[in-house]
């Protein structure tokens, strides 16, 4: 069971839901936690894992052998990303533009291009109590988060429960995180911004044909527009977390609130049961429709 926690905008409580859910489940199931928000991996603050492994994430970038290169320019013509180009008697490589596809070395008629590793980030793993913890980190100044997420996701054990904390938004890194999930849990706030960004997430999740549900965080602020939207779209609201200053303060200190507030562990366990039920139900509905 792969559950991805996502949100249209940042700061809605994605990491709060992901970490508390994972901790609630940790004693009951084999749980792996993946922080896929590789631009801002923050779940570590709440889970405090003991890290025991770190590995680099490399992208293959071309290296040109000046002795064999004939400066024909075919590599530059082929590259979709302008990451390699020939000028006079120089073939230049721009690693930060390179997507590592390998096309330049395929097209080179004289085999002057070899591919070398360029580190764009790293993966880390360890344990946090009963949880198996994994995260990815994008090196500052590197633009491409997606390859790190795809490498991170190779560590998912399909037989256990995996909880993925996705980046916010709807762009490539979010798609990469959601891809292949059994359920998407979307966290939102009951406000104008919350609703607007929730709709964008819902569009993406529906396009990917992943069963979904909503958690309303800071319930009580704003108004009922998120609820009305979910009702009209038939999207289940699976949990409400009240707007509570205590929760906000625990968050600010990096403390998962289920450890401090009575009854919440049980509620997160119920949330998981609901997710299992909804995942099954929505999948069946889709089969009936098609």
């Amino acid at each position: 069971m792969q559950i991805t926690i996502s949100a249209g905008k940042g700061g809605t409580g994605k990491t709060t839901v992901a970490t508390n859910l994972a901790l609630a489940l940790a004693g009951e199931y084999d749980v792996q936690f993946f922080d896929c928000d590789v631009e801002e991996p923050d779940s570590e603050i709440f889970l405090r894992p003991e890290l025991d492994n770190e590995e680099p994430v490399n992208l293959k970038v071309p290296e040109v052998n000046d002795e064999t290169c004939t400066y024909c320019g075919q590599c530059g013509d082929a590259c979709e990303f302008n990451a390699i180009a020939t000028f006079g008697e120089n073939t230049l490589v721009y690693p930060e533009l390179c997507h590592g596809c390998g096309l330049c070395s395929l097209v080179c008629p004289v085999d002057a291009i070899t591919e070398v590793d360029n580190k764009i980030g790293k993966l880390r793993s360890g344990r946090a109590g009963n949880l198996e913890y994994h995260d990815g980190n994008l090196t500052i100044g590197e633009p491409m988060a997606t390859p790190i997420i795809s490498r991170l996701k190779k560590k998912i054990d399909p037989d256990g429960v995996s909880i993925l904390d996705s980046p916010p938004g709807t762009a490539c890194p979010v798609i990469e995180s959601l891809h292949g999930s059994d359920f998407a849990l979307l966290v939102t706030e009951p406000t104008l911004f919350g609703l607007h960004d929730l709709k964008l997430s819902v569009d993406v999740v529906k396009e990917l044909e992943i069963p979904l549900g909503v958690v309303i965080n800071r319930d009580g602020i704003g108004d009922d527009r998120v609820e009305r939207y979910c009702d009209s779209e038939g999207i289940p609201i699976l949990m409400r977390i009240p707007d509570d200053r205590d929760i906000a303060v625990y968050y600010s200190k990096g403390v998962p609130f289920i450890e401090k507030m009575d009854g919440w562990k049980e509620r997160f366990l119920e949330l998981f049961e609901e997710i299992e039920g909804q995942a099954e139900y929505q999948k069946r509905q889709k089969l009936i429709e098609t």
Partner: protein, 123 residues
């Protein structure tokens, strides 16, 4: 001898476009005879690496110098490798830029003048 000027339009009276990689046009001109042609910049909408692609266009047109507003690190590296001189800080019309070039009022650029879209800082 030919030079290229980044331009907002296709005429000598058009304004200089301060951007290199994503300028609208390149006006390729002989600064003495003022014979010119304008080429539309196909790299304007490149996903990434517009500066590199534009440098290829310009270098391929056989110019020996480029006059523009700013040049990013990627394009700078490309143009220097191609042996094209780079003059930055130009403003006004294309004709103004040609006059400044002919009167030696422009200074040769020794490094990139912007950080560029995704260019890395050179340490």
């Amino acid at each position: 001898m030919k030079i290229a000027i980044t331009s907002l339009g296709e005429e000598l009276s058009s304004g200089v476009d301060g951007r290199f990689g994503r300028c609208d046009y390149f006006v390729i001109v002989d600064p003495e005879s003022l014979d010119y042609e304008a080429i539309s910049n196909g790299s304007k909408n490149a996903v990434g690496g517009a500066g590199v692609e534009a440098a290829q266009t310009v270098a391929g047109s056989g110019v020996s110098a480029v006059i523009t507003g700013n040049v990013g690190p990627n394009a700078y590296r490309a143009l220097s490798s191609a042996g094209v001189d780079i003059y930055t800080g130009a403003s006004g019309t294309v004709q103004d830029a040609i006059d400044d070039f002919n009167d030696d009022n422009l200074s040769l650029t020794q490094s990139s003048t912007t950080r560029g879209g995704r260019g890395k800082r050179r340490r």
